[in-house]
């Protein structure tokens, strides 16, 4: 265990070794980077070639909570985590900012930051994007396996939680903001201004379904395999994942509910005590070039935060890549975007309270 002596303080910054030590240590989620057949990362290699900065790229960011638990004791002790850059989900960025665990970005080193899509410029947890820049974004919707639903699509949270046909074969995401977010929207609330009561009301519905034996469980990323195999009939899902799987499994489908669905981003941040901050910023700048980001998007198929990527992809000669550019889940049109909502930033008290309420439901 690790008693955190936190509080909102300025993140400490050591002397930057960027010039002496031409490296940058980056922790990212697995499969979040374009990859060649031999397992190398073309864009990273190109970056090193361009700048002479070597990138130690680690895919050891599997889970926000777990990653936080690993670095938190170091950050609390004011020590270097050994990383210069990592990729945290919105709400985690909020927590890192309020604990003073990440450093403001020096935008002078990131001229390409201007390519950030306008809708992402101002987020509630990081107004003005002082600390973070988005890496990839994703929708949460409802996925289903027709082989297990009796051939019917699942189109709403209500159906998911009450359809007798699905009893015991429904999975919800353990990611509170996605699951509860969908529920709140179905109850007609908006994610940018709901109240604690609204939150509690949404939870009640889920709790009732759980008590009735409707739920198979709460899952992280594992839901995808379960859905694929038919171990699970329907689930709250990250739409992009299921869309990809549907290529190989015709029974799979995904719904973005009419009442609304969540959009969340994973964001590049530079931790306190990072020793190669400038190098990290140069790397961010490199990826904020649409030409570079297009290569990543072409491979990972998530929402790109960088403007102009779609155009680059459309110009490709590869029909698969062009198909990506035309996908609603990667480049949604305005109508789709209008239904997407972002979960509002929570105060630390709210964060703890809502999280604990949700966990009581998950582990009860």
């Amino acid at each position: 265990g690790s008693p955190a002596q936190g509080g909102k303080t300025a993140a400490p910054a050591p002397t930057d070794l960027s010039d002496v030590d031409k490296i940058v240590n980056w922790s990212n989620w697995p499969l979040y980077m374009d990859e060649a057949d031999d397992g190398s990362y073309p864009t990273l290699q190109a970056f090193t070639k361009q700048t002479g900065i070597k990138v130690n790229y680690n895919t050891d960011y599997n889970d926000n909570e777990e990653f936080f638990a690993k670095v938190q004791p170091l950050l609390a002790a004011g020590q270097d985590t050994g990383r210069d850059l990592w990729v945290s989900t919105d709400w985690m960025v909020a927590r890192l900012i309020s604990l003073g665990y990440i450093q403001p970005l020096n935008k002078d080193n990131i001229p390409n930051a201007g390519n950030l899509q306008p809708s992402l410029q101002d987020v509630s947890y990081d107004p003005g994007r002082v600390y973070s820049l988005p890496w990839q974004g994703i929708f949460a919707g409802i996925g289903y396996n027709l082989a297990r639903t009796g051939g019917r699509k699942v189109t709403s949270m209500d159906q998911l939680l009450h359809d007798k046909q699905l009893k015991g074969k429904v999975v919800l995401l353990s990611e509170m903001r996605d699951t509860v977010g969908l529920m709140l929207m179905e109850q007609g609330k908006r994610l940018d201004n709901f109240t604690a009561d609204d939150f509690a009301a949404a939870l009640t519905v889920i709790q009732d379904a759980k008590d009735a034996g409707q739920l198979r469980g709460f899952s992280g990323n594992n839901y995808a395999d379960d859905l694929d195999k038919g171990v699970v009939a329907a689930s709250v899902v990250w739409a992009g994942d299921v869309a990809q799987m549907a290529v190989g499994n015709k029974n799979l489908g995904v719904t973005l509910p009419d009442t609304g669905f969540t959009l969340s981003y994973d964001n590049l941040v530079i931790p306190a005590m990072a020793q190669h901050k400038t190098n990290a910023e140069k790397l961010i700048n490199y990826y904020y070039n649409p030409e570079v980001m297009a290569q990543v998007t072409g491979w990972v198929n998530y929402l790109s935060p960088v403007a102009g990527v779609k155009d680059v992809l459309l110009k490709s000669s590869d029909p698969d890549v062009v198909a990506v550019a035309k996908s609603q889940l990667v480049f949604p049109d305005d109508a789709t975007m209008a239904r997407a909502q972002k979960f509002r930033a929570l105060t630390s008290e709210e964060d703890l309270s809502f999280t604990r309420q949700y966990q009581a439901l998950v582990t009860g």
Partner: protein, 303 residues
């Protein structure tokens, strides 16, 4: 008794010194490991379990015994459930593991070592992969599910409440199956080492004295394999109480075990004091049960 001759006295003390010296040397490395890497952090953990605060405000040591009462009152049902699952899994693992251990020790001939490796083989494929493989095996409409449904086993399991729906997956049944499967090596290996020592002559003597297989087992084999039985049940039961992966992957939303609770208090809720308190409660209950069990089994005297 004779008078002690000169020279007899120092012998006693010399022996005693030697008698302590050897075990001390033997124990030293293990003790160093346990004390430095386990006892010291555990003391820190103990202090944490009595703190209050939050990650944003920081934690203060306040002798907050309320953490313990809170942990217990909130999570007693998961705690009880964990012990029930672990105990049933241990019993079944023993029931399966004993014949297997006997088979390996006495009937597998020159394939003994290969069979031993087969028992540990599951661990060579990652736990995630093999538990997922269980999903493939038990999946609705699969061979196993169909056979069990056709033979009425599923119905029976449903009736006794181990399978809430018509699906084998996502049930206490699947969780216990997973526990049995994953902990079988922990039962079989210690059992095997004990059972292998049992001299055929004792079995001959028992058969000669009118013992049928059943009696020979309970009156001779079982008491002689007690060290292995105790070791195996402990190695199965203790980790099984804290396990939650099986419950998570094979169970449903209502089969959460206490390991999962501690994890979520720790990782998600950031409620370190409660997580620490809960760990302590768990450890203490386990240790109390284990001590009582070892004493009841009488293995300390048994040679």
């Amino acid at each position: 008794m004779a008078f002690a001759l000169p020279g007899a006295r120092p012998r006693k003390s010399a022996k005693r010194r030697r008698g302590l010296f050897v075990p001390a040397i033997l124990l030293l490395p293990a003790l160093i490991w346990l004390v430095f890497f386990f006892v010291v952090p555990t003391i820190a953990l103990a202090s944490q379990s009595l703190q209050t605060g939050s990650i944003y405000q920081g934690f203060q040591f306040t002798w907050a015994f309320s953490n313990y009462t809170e942990a217990l009152s909130t999570y007693w049902s998961q705690m009880v459930r964990s012990f029930i699952y672990a105990a049933s899994a241990t019993v079944f693992t023993l029931a399966i593991g004993f014949p297997l251990a006997w088979f390996i020790a006495h009937r597998s001939g020159r394939f003994k070592n290969i069979v031993l490796v087969l028992v540990v083989a599951p661990f060579f494929t990652n736990f995630l992969i093999r538990t997922l493989a269980w999903q493939t095996i038990l999946v609705d409409g699969g061979f196993v599910a169909n056979v069990m449904k056709a033979t009425g086993i599923t119905g029976f399991l449903n009736w006794i409440g181990l399978v809430p729906n018509d699906s084998l997956l996502g049930s206490p049944f699947a969780v216990i199956c997973g526990l049995i499967y994953n902990f079988l090596p922990f039962m079989v290996l210690p059992l095997y080492t004990s059972v292998e020592r049992i001299d055929q002559r004792y079995l001959d003597a028992a058969a000669d004295l009118y013992s049928n297989g059943w009696n020979t087992f309970w009156k001779v084999i079982w008491p002689l394999s007690l060290p292995g039985v105790v070791a195996g049940t402990l190695l199965t039961f203790i980790p099984a109480v804290g396990d939650y992966i099986n419950a998570k992957i094979l169970g449903n939303a209502n089969t959460t075990m206490v390991g999962k609770v501690i994890e979520s208090e720790f990782l998600v809720n950031l409620n370190y004091p409660i997580a620490a308190a809960l760990s302590f409660v768990l450890m203490i209950i386990i240790i109390v049960m284990v001590s009582a069990y070892v004493r009841a089994a009488g293995t300390e005297e048994l040679v």
